[in-house]
């Protein structure tokens, strides 16, 4: 039961909001000299759960017809009761942990009342009096490494999406420019995706922002803040902020005062417009939800989530550099690639086929192919194959990377064949191209055989490799011999001391073999033939 209202007064919110961070010294911005900008952001992120926050109904996915993902509870039928989806709580816990927030052992749900066509119950269930987590911070990945403090994280229904789970992440007013605001939203977005809590997709509305901005003279108290609602792209947010900052400065420079307002942003004019003034602010008549009572979260539950939580981007970055001795630049490419992965529902671990690029890379590095290999694959070679060959060929086909496009075991097999000189690197690339172009069940090895891509070898190579001769093994020597007899003039020139002409003969062999021969092997073989006879 909800009885803890005494300690949590709703006045708290508005007062502490004004205690902006004064730790940072003012840095003059050429765009608005003599003015300080203070920005705070509320991010609404849809929780990536299969079901809604308070009902068993599955969330709509592409292709669902209207009104098919609705239960009597979602439509606020009489007698229905909410039931908290604990998966949403677990995902919010991941976010709170990632932001180093303090997760409250007891939090409560409240009703926010207003009439609106998308709100069947006449109220939204949110956490007004005792939110799920408080405190924490997110360090911006810029040179200044600005820490943006988190005020609170609360769980609520997404009223615009028929009751899907939503996290509202409220920052303290710690940002000082539209660029910092953009960086904050982008960093938060990648954090949400990394922990699997949200798609963070602004185009599809799974992440939306309300920004609060005020303008003041450096050293003086903060100005009156205005809130700009429902911004659904980082670009629009930056434009809205710039437009709003200009508007404030114009008002202040004409010696008027900025009225406290809630504003919208027009994507046509790229300007903000008034939605309502402080006087028109609705009274939401917040009241504890008597059905849901108190949400208890134990230290053991938090610990369990902490242990099973996906790695955060920073940790992955440093681990990849250390563990695989990769170049930071390559790690960034891999991480950027990884960020495009689909976020699975309910924080589930993605199967190998739908994992991201990092997991794909690590699988190939670590999977030794049924124990046949003695040494692990060279991470640099693996990464090279992924980011240059695979992603390169995919982008040429206007496709993006997914782990299931070429199974990791296939790319591993292909890399091994190249490494073991079973096929040449050139053949490896064409094999990859073939796989992408003609999807089939055939493994790279089977394909290499069927497509006659097995590298041509000489008898010496066969005997030194200790493997059984294959159909192609005799051919390389024979082709070299045939080429020599086809190019008498070049042979004469070579024997006369023009060593460079050998490359021409090698090129001819390579052309005949369509890249199946190793140039160095061909050169050695030719030399042996020409010098010996």
């Amino acid at each position: 039961m909800v009885l803890c209202l005494r300690s949590c007064r709703h006045g708290l919110f508005s007062t502490s909001r004004r205690c902006f961070s004064s730790v940072r010294s003012h840095i003059e911005d050429k765009r608005w000299p003599g003015w300080q900008i203070i920005i705070g952001i509320e991010v609404h992120a849809q929780i990536k759960s299969r079901r809604k926050l308070f009902s068993e109904t599955t969330v709509p996915v592409a292709g669902n017809l209207p009104n098919t993902c609705v239960s009597p509870f979602d439509a606020a039928f009489p007698g229905t009761l909410p039931r908290l989806n604990m998966q949403c709580v677990a995902l919010a816990t991941r976010v709170a942990l990632a932001l180093k927030s303090h997760i409250k052992s007891r939090s409560t749900f409240d009703r926010k009342h207003y009439f609106y066509p998308d709100l069947p119950a006449g109220y939204q269930i949110t956490q007004h009096y005792a939110p799920f987590a408080v405190g924490g911070h997110l360090v911006l990945p810029n040179d200044a490494a600005v820490p943006v403090r988190i005020k609170q994280i609360q769980l609520e229904q997404d009223t615009a999406k028929a009751g899907m789970g939503l996290m509202e992440i409220v920052s303290e007013p710690d940002m000082r420019s539209p660029e910092e605001a953009a960086l904050y939203v982008r960093s938060l977005q990648s954090l949400l995706r990394a922990v699997g809590a949200s798609d963070g997709n602004m185009e599809q509305g799974s992440l939306r922002c309300d920004v609060n901005v005020s303008v003041n003279r450096p050293g003086l108290p903060p100005g009156t803040r205005c809130e700009i609602k429902n911004l659904n792209s980082v670009k629009f947010m930056m434009s809205a902020l710039s437009s709003e900052i200009r508007r404030h400065i114009d008002i202040l420079e004409s010696s008027s005062s900025v009225p406290q307002e809630t504003r919208g942003f027009s994507e046509q004019t790229f300007e903000t417009f008034r939605l309502r003034s402080k006087e028109d602010a609705p009274d939401y008549r917040y009241m504890p939800d008597m059905n849901l009572g108190t949400l208890h979260i134990t230290e053991a539950q938090i610990q369990n989530i902490r242990e099973t939580m996906p790695e955060l981007p920073d940790a992955t970055r440093s681990r990849l550099q250390k563990q695989y001795s990769l170049h930071p630049r390559d790690v960034e490419i891999l991480l950027a690639l990884d960020a495009e992965k689909d976020i699975p529902f309910d924080g589930e671990t993605a199967g190998p086929s739908s994992a991201g690029a990092v997991r794909y890379f690590e699988t190939i590095c670590q999977d030794h192919g049924q124990g046949v290999r003695e040494k692990p694959r060279d991470p640099k070679v693996v990464l090279n194959w992924i980011i240059h060959e695979l992603v390169g060929q995919l982008s040429a086909r206007h496709e993006t990377f997914t782990a299931q496009r070429v199974p990791s075991s296939w790319l591993a097999e292909l890399i091994d064949m190249v490494h073991d000189n079973i096929i040449t690197r050139t053949s490896g690339k064409s094999l990859l191209r073939h796989i992408l172009h003609n999807p089939s069940e055939e493994s790279p090895k089977q394909l290499a055989h069927r497509l006659d891509l097995i590298a041509l070898r000489t008898d010496d190579q066969v005997s030194s490799a200790g493997t059984a001769p294959t159909a192609g093994d005799i051919d390389l020597a024979a082709i070299c011999q045939a080429t020599i007899s086809q190019m008498p003039a070049e042979v004469v020139a070579y024997r006369a001391g023009n060593v460079n002409v050998l490359n021409k003969i090698v090129g001819h062999v390579m052309k005949t073999t369509r890249g199946r021969a190793n140039a160095l092997v061909v050169k050695t073989a030719l030399q042996a033939m020409l010098d010996g006879s």
Partner: protein, 504 residues
Amino acid sequence: MLSRCLPTTTIRRHATLVPKAIDSSWRHAITLKNDSVNAIVHLASEDASGVLADGPLHKVAIAVKDNICTSSMPTTCSSHMLEDFRSPYNATVVRLLTEAGADLIGKTNLDEFGMGSLNTYSIHGPVVNPFQLANQNESWEMREKRAAGGSSGGSAAAVAADMCYAALGTDTGGSIRLPASYCGVTGFKPSYGLISRYGVVSFADSLDCVGVIAKTTKRVRRVAEAIMAPDPRDPTSASHTLRSNASSHSPPLSAAHLKGLRVGVPEEYFPSELDTSVITPTRRVLSALESLGATIVSVSLPSTPYALSAYYVIACAEASSNLARYDGVEYGLNVTAQRTRSGDTAMRSYAATRSQGFGAEVRKRILLGTYALRADAFDNYFQQALRVRQLVRDDFNKTFRSPDVRFMDSPSTAAPDRPDVNIIVHPTAIQPAPLIYDDVQKKGLDAYVQDVLTVPASLAGLPALSIRGGDTDGWPIGVTIVGQWGSDDMVLRVGEMVDMSLYD
């Protein structure tokens, strides 16, 4: 004759109330008396009773209050708003009764959305109290038309008029106990959370309880046992662990006597509004308990005088929230406002729908609740009421021997002179059933005073059983037994023994 007594509303005649064939005495009683009593507002078709499950309540005729969702019958809540509403699903209690083999014979009248103490605020018209002593043979037309009590007036009247074996009611602040007292039957409001509220149309979520009305405690127990089960669909439903933890604190009772049972009589439950006619029946119950070996002690529950005000603030605030969903969009009455150049058509449609759909009493309570939840009134009204609610709980916890196992983590301050009682006994109502159109309608607050003795147990979520203690001037008087949270079994056992002592 009847129309003279009921100047504003005539009791409606329902075409659905004529059964195809009379196959039971219950249905016979409905056919015979319902036009006068107006307890049943929808009679189930008899086809359904052909396929009753073979369970512990096989063929037991049970009526269901019309704010409990049934997919095979309408659920009107006695409101114009839901006049044509049929729920797409069954309430958990309805499902459990059906699975136990019960014959759900129909839906019973109530005050609109459960808001009322006399069952006079209903689109179906008022319920007329059918109570008649066995030795009274006065014709129906000649008798005074008294209120059945509310809001579960239809359920209590249906039981009193032998229209069913038992009826389900709901109790938010006394809505089962009060009509049970007025109609001379047994009404049981269990501990909050023991019977699922899933499918029960919310009035005030933190107070609403489903309960049972029948002629005897034994019958009440039989039906209640079939529906007192944890329900994952109700987040306020008590777990198995909590239930067994609570019952482990109840004293073992002998089948023959009540030696060792301590009974508290709270001095605050005899306020100035109390009609002296209720004293004798209360003494009668206390004497019965004493003769069974129980010890009677006087106890004090000092917060009682504040309970009624706190109750109305909380109940109205919750109602204003719970009833916000009736906007005419998804279901129920829809009044579409004319499109105009200015103004929001959707908002004006909501206003028109809600103004026409809700009756005066419901509108009044929504407005009171809306006021109490305003940002600048919240602390003084809602928060203050929650504090009083806690004081009422504390009073009970200081009086009962056993703890409230729901709040075990917060240690209760043990009073040095703790009376350590097992149950509390008090009159259910301040008076016998009032006349239907006595001037209660004019004195608005008087109707609320009817609940003064029943709301404390609702605020604390405690089990309360109203049994017929006796009669005064030909009308019954109820006496209530209240126990600690989760001691429902003990309360019912004590009730059974008092029944036996008084009526066998």
